[in-house]
Amino acid sequence: MTSRPPTLREKRRYVLVRIDPAGIVLDAKELYYAVNDAVASLWGDAAAARVHAAVVAVEGEFAVVRCRRGTERELAIALITVTSCNGERIALRTLATSGTIESLKELIGPHQENIPASPLQPEEYTVDGRTVVVSHCSGQKVDVIEKGFKNATRFFLTTEDLEDI
């Protein structure tokens, strides 16, 4: 099968998103299902076909989502409504849109450098009567997770909150 000449290929746009909470590991296929479900649910199947969303890369806490040119708005709004993926609660924060994946991958570096990494505090804390451990810490932000349970509750605190506990 020969590929189409460039003038006959459809134009695409790529959206860079950050996956929250930090430290969560997502499979690209599962994220694709979540994004596609969000697009189809909000805009309907016909619009979802027009948007033609696909997750082309997941790199750590960043993902690149593809769509047809001219449908970036629909995709961006649908991405706001993604609340879970494979049973994990997530939020997708749209950072940039571009015509090439390469330029978005160049943006990932500066975004990662913007987050000052803090050493993890190994201590255990008690939040709402539950024993929790620090799962992620960046700057003043501290995510703690209930100890010893699968699908455990996650709390989003700050370093000052931990001092107060």
Binding site: S41, I80, A91, D128, K141, F156, L157, T158, E160, D161
Partner: protein, 214 residues
Amino acid sequence: MKITDACVHPRPSGDSSVRRMALEAHELGFDSLIAIDTPACEYGGVEVFSGVEIPLALTQQEVTSTVKHSRETGAFVLVQAGDNGRNRMVLGMRGVHVLAGIHDTDRYAFDHVTAKMAADNGVAIDISLAPLISEREVPRQRVLDRYYDLMLLYRRFEFPLVISSHARSVLEMRSVREFSALASVIGLDIPDVEKALAYTGGIQSPHSPVRVIQ
């Protein structure tokens, strides 16, 4: 002009502390938050206003006493909307700032009379983005339908609006740009969104007719 998320629920109702929500709000482009059942404070450059949310279950007498108490403490008062009679009662009450949860009510709960009362008394109507984000299929369609109807009344009567995330977690908070994008789905354009996000300043110094003081 302060850009405000009109309602968030920090711990213990949610899973995020008010400080963390303030940090997140700052990154998302907000200047202030109304946090339910939380003392007022300032953190990370974000002003946190204390808010009280009055649930639907309370009787008229209980609503009146809670509003009176909140007026003394200076907290923002959000009252959950109910049927038409309750909404009229709430909109006529001094000290109520926001009527919330219109999306949960039936079509007749908020009509042209209540819309005019809201405009006359300066009570803002809350557009909660939470059901637009978290609901799917028929429940979301119902919410969209209620908001389309609300927009029709808004264009006619121009009552104040506020937009809120009703976030119980930092994962449920959205940026100012995302607020605008979601609001565009229900037909709110950017100037309307800006007005709604900045309305908290108006609540602090409400418009009232000029009075001659002798």
